[in-house]
């Protein structure tokens, strides 16, 4: 039997996911998504919560926030700080790599 080839939707920089979809993908409540948006961890397109649309980075960041919050039992504000620092470290490591240096040295 010929195996079916699945075709999906590509999610990139444009906001496409609703708050409900993002919450479900993180196994969290919409109120938690709203909290992350309020502290600036997530940056949806759209003004009202019902019109919010999230991009691929938002989903990756939200899932990371969910893991950190669950595994370290910290507040949303603390997770926001952790994420900021982690993002900064990643940015610097990328710059090192692009400059041909080993970030693990």
């Amino acid at each position: 039997m010929e195996k079916e080839i699945l075709t999906g939707w590509v999610i990139g920089d444009e906001g496409v996911l609703t708050a409900e979809e993002l919450a479900r993908a993180c196994r969290a409540d919409v109120s938690w998504i709203a909290e992350l948006t309020e502290v600036g961890v997530l940056d949806p397109e759209g003004k009202e919560q019902s019109g919010w649309r999230f991009c691929a980075t938002d989903l990756t960041v939200a899932r990371r926030a969910a893991r950190l919050q669950q595994d370290f039992s910290v507040s949303t504000e603390a997770v926001a700080v952790m994420l900021d620092l982690l993002a900064e470290i990643e940015r610097l490591r990328d710059r090192l790599k692009r400059a041909g240096l080993d970030p693990n040295e």
Partner: protein, 310 residues
Amino acid sequence: MEFKDYYTILGVERTATADDIKGAYRKLARKYHPDVSKEAGAEARFKEIGEAYEVLKDPEKRAAYDQLGTGWRAGQEFTPPPDWAAGFEFAPGRFSTADAAEFSDFFSSLFGNFTRQADVHHSHGEDRHAKIVIPLEDAFHGATRTITLRAPRLDSEGRVVLRDHTLSVRIPKGIRDSQLIRLAGQGAPGSGGASSGDLYLEVHFDPHSVYRVEGHDLSLTLPIAPWEAALGATVKAPTPTGVVEVKIPAGSQSGQKLRLKGRGIPGEPSGDLYLVLDVVVPAADTERAQQLYRTMAQELAFNPRRTLGV
């Protein structure tokens, strides 16, 4: 399957208190959490730690686990005893079937049949997440890739068992690193007639030997000879879609970039390809070559350290 010694994994005594266990877990989580750790193999280690904590933090699960006795060694071949966990009633934990997919066969065989959520409810299946690593070339030509996921299924007796689940997925031309492919209905099955969840595939490129990727732009280091840099030249350069000829302007230096518009990852608009020039000095390994260098030294009056004032 292999026996797992959850006490050793967390580095605590069998007599440890709930607080000891929590403390040990927190310390290890900080060290091995895949989101913050740089340790090699952190992800696998953290899974093991999470699984051990899942069992030892729960008094019921811990008691049932302790009942297996102290005769087992980590890695020893193990089958759950027939009367396993008789008299225990495990509350469904915070983890779900999606978490269960992360746990070991050992864990699933002991606690798997208790992880099932009450399936009389009408509830939407959970979304799942996976990473797929593809060659950069797929972004230029599109491709079909297969991916194997460990997915929890219910066996005929209602136990959760982990089975490999292979999917063929179309990778569209123009895909970029860190984008997601959302496959509707490929997540966990729903219960009570509700729809299945979705599967989100996070796309990453294999590190490429020639090209570096940044968004939809690519860059590569293009070695050139000193005379090509000085006099200008037309040289060949590789691109993901074939070799092209590029004009090196006279007076070029190492580190300068040439932009080949639209030669990056295809899309609306396509990315660009940057050629980073790298002037390579030929070896003076023959008498003739040494002579040429001496002639340049005599006739060019060149001081590369002029800007340093020396």
